[in-house]
Symmetry: C3
Subunit: 166 residues, 3 copies
């Protein structure tokens, strides 16, 4: 599920890292998400909860960071019907077939024709900061951590950094 190995500076963001100083633990981890559709939401809550528990951190914060421009992370309810609505809203707000300059070979060297994916990810966001209290991820009743593939199918990476008092 997650890669665990030492990293160096040039590999920052890949694999798991662990550092401790003065009672503080900072642990980084990467979650891999294999997507199957062009637009697809995946619930990664259980994996984030597991990563938090593994650190033994009692109180602190969790930073989630998408390692891709066209892959977003955000919070909402995990319900198939709502996810269809989210997809529909993104498609309405950002028209895939508009004449975006990013899709125009005269102005762009990107051949994925994925301007819509960049813009949709931007609206959802690439960074989410959560809290750890009493050794657990803080979440409200219906809250789930979701990642959004906007230009799949692809293999995607979400980086999890947990920092706090063990």
């Amino acid at each position: 599920m997650s890669k665990r190995s030492a990293v160096n500076a040039t590999e920052a963001g890949q694999g798991a890292t662990s550092a401790a100083g003065g009672g503080i633990v900072v642990r980084g981890d990467t979650l891999t998400i294999q997507t199957h559709e062009r637009i697809e939401l995946t619930d990664v809550t259980d994996r984030v909860i597991a990563a938090v528990r593994e650190t033994g951190v009692r109180a602190g914060i969790v930073s989630l960071w998408s390692m891709h421009t066209t892959f977003a992370v955000f919070m909402n309810e995990s319900q198939k019907a709502l996810h269809a609505d989210i997809k529909r809203l993104l498609e309405t707000m950002v028209d895939r077939d508009a004449d975006w300059m990013h899709n125009d070979p005269d102005h762009s060297d990107c051949d994925r024709l994925n301007a819509d994916a960049h813009l949709r990810a931007m609206l959802l966001g690439h960074s989410l900061t959560l809290q750890v209290s009493g050794g657990e991820l803080v979440l409200g009743q219906w809250q789930r951590v979701l990642v959004a593939e906007l230009d799949g199918p692809r293999s995607r990476t979400l980086r999890v950094q947990i920092m706090g008092i063990a």
Copy 2:
């Protein structure tokens, strides 16, 4: 204004927590916001400033987390006219009366008919990270911390986690 009691893991996110290790303080607190309209913006800046001061943290970060899917937290100016504009923009971007699947009993067991509230909160965001410097919350001249009720009136909770050097 805020609840203060010990919490355990199953109550993560409720009440105030305090932990310290190696010179670092992590303090969690919950702010309760009673809303009166379906869509309503509330300025909670003074309460966040008070929470920061109470910790004695001189330098660090503040994580704000909405405990609800249909309740957002973000930053902007606190002006009645602008708040009316924000409400209008949300209503324009996400049509309450579209045939959202989340509101369709054939696809959803939610009877609040609040797909629009989920989608509008998603656009504003549920997480905001601020900074503490010199013992004070870092804010620019017109900046205020706002919470957005999108499916009220209800009693809402915003979790505040402050982490830094005391």
Copy 3:
């Protein structure tokens, strides 16, 4: 490029600050961005990377905070064509010439007629949290940290707070 001086509480957010406790370093810094157009994207990635390296922090987090209501910070690819698309999307989603109340002297004492700038910044966001691992800012292949001027030209400030284990 960045201001470095002691700060006190009333100046929170201005200049550079540095605090350390129990092996943890918290360093605040301000980046100044001079903009030249009303709407303009600027890539500040290299400056954020430099700020991270200067702290000597090996593992931790980086909080970026816009000091203005009409100036946003977010992540995306740094490509001229895509930036034109982002500008176009913002102009489509938020009509500058709609009869916003914030621009109406009967309801607002703001004479900048910049309701669109407030609303566009709100959609992009004012806060971004990144990670430090192996002493380096964690970024994916095409990822760049961008700031968005929405009501320029002006001189703008982005606050960078780095917190972690040195």
